[in-house]
Subunit: 341 residues, 4 copies
Amino acid sequence: MYSFTNDYSEGAHPRILQAILEANLTQNKGYGLDAHSSHARELIREEIRPQDGDIHFIPGGTQTNLIVIASALRPYQAVISAVTGHVNVHETGAIEATGHKVLAMDTADGKLTPALVQQALDSHTDEHMVQPKMVYISNSTEVGTQYTKSELEALSRICRLKGLYLFMDGARIGSALTSPANDLTLADIAALTDVFYIGGTKNGALLGEAVVIVREELKADFRFMIKQRGAMMAKGWLLGIQFEELFQNNLFYDMARHANRMARRLREAIARQGWSFSSDSCTNQLFPIFSHQAVGELEKHFTFEIIGQTDDNHTCIRLVTSWATTEEGVEEFIRVLEKIS
Amino acid sequence: MYSFTNDYSEGAHPRILQAILEANLTQNKGYGLDAHSSHARELIREEIRPQDGDIHFIPGGTQTNLIVIASALRPYQAVISAVTGHVNVHETGAIEATGHKVLAMDTADGKLTPALVQQALDSHTDEHMVQPKMVYISNSTEVGTQYTKSELEALSRICRLKGLYLFMDGARIGSALTSPANDLTLADIAALTDVFYIGGTKNGALLGEAVVIVREELKADFRFMIKQRGAMMAKGWLLGIQFEELFQNNLFYDMARHANRMARRLREAIARQGWSFSSDSCTNQLFPIFSHQAVGELEKHFTFEIIGQTDDNHTCIRLVTSWATTEEGVEEFIRVLEKIS
Amino acid sequence: MYSFTNDYSEGAHPRILQAILEANLTQNKGYGLDAHSSHARELIREEIRPQDGDIHFIPGGTQTNLIVIASALRPYQAVISAVTGHVNVHETGAIEATGHKVLAMDTADGKLTPALVQQALDSHTDEHMVQPKMVYISNSTEVGTQYTKSELEALSRICRLKGLYLFMDGARIGSALTSPANDLTLADIAALTDVFYIGGTKNGALLGEAVVIVREELKADFRFMIKQRGAMMAKGWLLGIQFEELFQNNLFYDMARHANRMARRLREAIARQGWSFSSDSCTNQLFPIFSHQAVGELEKHFTFEIIGQTDDNHTCIRLVTSWATTEEGVEEFIRVLEKIS
Amino acid sequence: MYSFTNDYSEGAHPRILQAILEANLTQNKGYGLDAHSSHARELIREEIRPQDGDIHFIPGGTQTNLIVIASALRPYQAVISAVTGHVNVHETGAIEATGHKVLAMDTADGKLTPALVQQALDSHTDEHMVQPKMVYISNSTEVGTQYTKSELEALSRICRLKGLYLFMDGARIGSALTSPANDLTLADIAALTDVFYIGGTKNGALLGEAVVIVREELKADFRFMIKQRGAMMAKGWLLGIQFEELFQNNLFYDMARHANRMARRLREAIARQGWSFSSDSCTNQLFPIFSHQAVGELEKHFTFEIIGQTDDNHTCIRLVTSWATTEEGVEEFIRVLEKIS
């Protein structure tokens, strides 16, 4: 059964595997101190100019989130997140396990706003409460939405005004940056946030996220944090070489664009059949609302995640596309959908 | 320059890469719930019979250590380790970062004994001190030594008598199990410990360690722990498929045996030239003591780790071989050594 | 200016101070192993019969909460609390600092219900999320409300059914137990919860809370937890002797009853003047809503906490009475109020 | 039986209790924001001139240690301590529970030296190991010894040179400062350390330690740390008023001097009888070595702590005197000793 369950069902783009294969028997320095990692850092530095940043490669997203947050905060400080934020609901309390509270704010669309940040500040005023110190956002968000440049500028402004760090989880930043609704570049993001990461795992790498630390005071001793949390790979070149491939010849963007294109075809077909969506997404995650019966039919042919009932007759599901999603898979979905709608 | 710096300079055994390549475009369930991981678990279960165990795949060794220990201990409990234990000196306080003290015992040879365990218990007697609850050993150890069956039985006995968990770090278990001095099997280890892991990273996998939890009370909810510490890979099949290859057709043992063979050739040549060793190792790590001058010469041709001066004229170094160490590399080392000795 | 700011503005009941004075020069064993602490435990055991429990004295409430919760939960487990719960908002992330997420539920009146507990369970279903394992309630609550016996029975039932621990924060349990709305005894509470504490600090002791652990599996090694978190007083007899006094001759109940009586007089006077309350309290905390102007007048004569604006013209304040609140203070408040209403 | 078990067997100096009694019914602001605490801070500030410092009152010593250390260190940083240091052996892993490793150094006499600090630095050189960042010393130490001014200056020098914080645990600082071997003042200590505390509990207060933070960068948000760890007393004035008494009219020094005087009489008598000591102490803790038989006789008349056998025929014990130790108790001990020696 074809799967739209997530964007990490397959392995890596063949060019990435080929690069690993070719480098496999070369001896490399361990722990990310190898030439591939250095080159990959250079390539990413090119993307964020004129900003500069320290760049580290970390195997997975939850690890990245917990290391960045635990590194930035003092023990009594907290991170502000959307209720739907990955750190709030899908990491088994990873942030709390490092000692920090996640201040979860209700949002309309998975996105934080200056007003919500202000609201968190207003309700935390003295030493009997945690001290908000970081704002965590995801782009694209967990509900498929994304930040515009002006939205990110506004968030950046209030963060700087209030002395808060702004951290962007970019597990799906590729999809965000190549969406038709996007007006941001990595350079913009580097200019507007203090730290962010570029997700490899969900965009065609075997594994790996590239953290970019722009804010000076967040740079010190970051490798100690990586090591302490078990995220410093012995064979660190394996992460470096993948980001080398991703940022040579636009592979990173091409793969994300493909995922978005596949999602758009699904989205347009679903809308054409008169179904609605629980969130407005131009990225690679769609949240259509179908009748229970339609969901039942679709489940006979495809796998995907059930989000939950929206009313007595309807259910919201999640469809995710990726660099590896095939045109055949998408067409087959549309065909089945047309039959049952 | 040829490197004897560690056993993770190269990538993975070609058969492992080939398996990844072939499976690359197949859609898999995420988070270790795929068929490769299931099959790999079956293969490992075969190895530990008649014992049974829960088997989990985790990207790296430090992660594995911190997850196992944090999962087993209550907040005031501590783990007993050799001073030289990896958790004590080479993990940037990863165990302490989960809240637990490491009780470091001086040892003659990197190995814990019942007497040392008893000594730790004797000096921790009430609620003003931490409560020792787990014994951590490495096999082979950080100084290349290894446990015999009777040594492990004695440790197991005192642990059971005193209500301590026995945890074996098997980052280099392959080398231990195939060493000429070995009289243990994985089945023995499963019978004598409560939890242990089988190291892939240092024995020919790209990354990955297989935790085997034998003790019933340590099994519950272990996947929550893995996820919380950021060690649950989205593309978990990548770990599963590697252990599948490792435990099909004896690849795991063959690679370790090769590493040991290469080490033995070095060891014999070094001894022949009249040099001594700081520890007695039949595994893939050697700790020869050379004159400063000899070290200086060797450094012109090879890379390796300097352990430290042993007296005014001598320095101890570490030489590590692996599945990928070439005969040419070893012969060249012996040639250079003969010239300078 | 007379203060209604809290119930810990004054010291201790004179009988408590007298007891300390008399025992002052006697040599006592340290750390709560003295005769006063033993006797106090006996007195409390009498109160909770036929239940039995381990009883420990801890200097303060936040400490007690964090020790009980950290002792009961495994690293990935979470505690369910009302949004208004003390552990959620007024302890500077003390619970998170021990590694645990607080799952904060919106409530109508500061009280958790079986439906809210079920809702927390329903939204935490697998290892990608924390595992709810404990239910934290306060009695009386942070908004002055309290649990009836049938409400507590219902909570107890769902907790036992679902394998959750039920923990009652009794910082103001004296006020709850002596309120006109109360139908619970300490014995009921011991029968229906797994662990709770009896607050001394807010009911006439200099400092001190008495934790009662009823559930067998929560008892082990609790003194290790107390010591590790810095809550094991060298002069532990100082806590014991206070609880001895509190539970001899009903002093504990008498003081709480006085506080409630003072609160009732305020409440009735406020209602008489036509003002309303933000919550329905028969305990020693009142949350009246006054016009801004009335608040301004009251502030000229009394100190109290401002909760916040409820609409453009009104502000909610908090008035707290205690064992030490004087009739004169209350009458003066009523007099001022009558003048300005 | 008269007890020499510790210096916290009795309550508080009568003048302290009297002060509490007199202030008991006055309404005070909570959480250390009261007038007594302010005044006590002023009195301590006088003592440390010309240095300035932030002063906070904390109920107990373990709490103080864990709050100071957790506040100062980033997650991967460690504190250097003597093996015998209170944080290393007698706090149930309280420091590790905040995530930090204690680097325990063997010492001759319970005191750290620049050489030992350098040794800790030399063995922690990269991100695979914890980063030493703080030096923890006790004065007087856990074995009764104390730092001279020149020793403290030397430690201070290396700490400043290497960027380490110097933290003095002053649980028994009174005894140190009034010992015949002392040449330090509180002002010296404030000039040479970054943070230290003045112990009340072991010198005649009911409870309480006064932390003095001299180093600017350690001051920020310290009250958040106090609150988070449950150490912010509701009735904080209770701590303040005790330190007010302690530092009015020299009560603090007078009590410590009495304790030292009582210890000296014991010490001289013990030496006169030909017994030796395991450490050289002029403070209120003595560690005499007696024959097993002598210990057995003494145990019939007095309580004290057994440290351990020193050889087949001898046992080391600990005798502790305090502000409350009576001349009669001391004379009786000497009498018994003379009989059995």
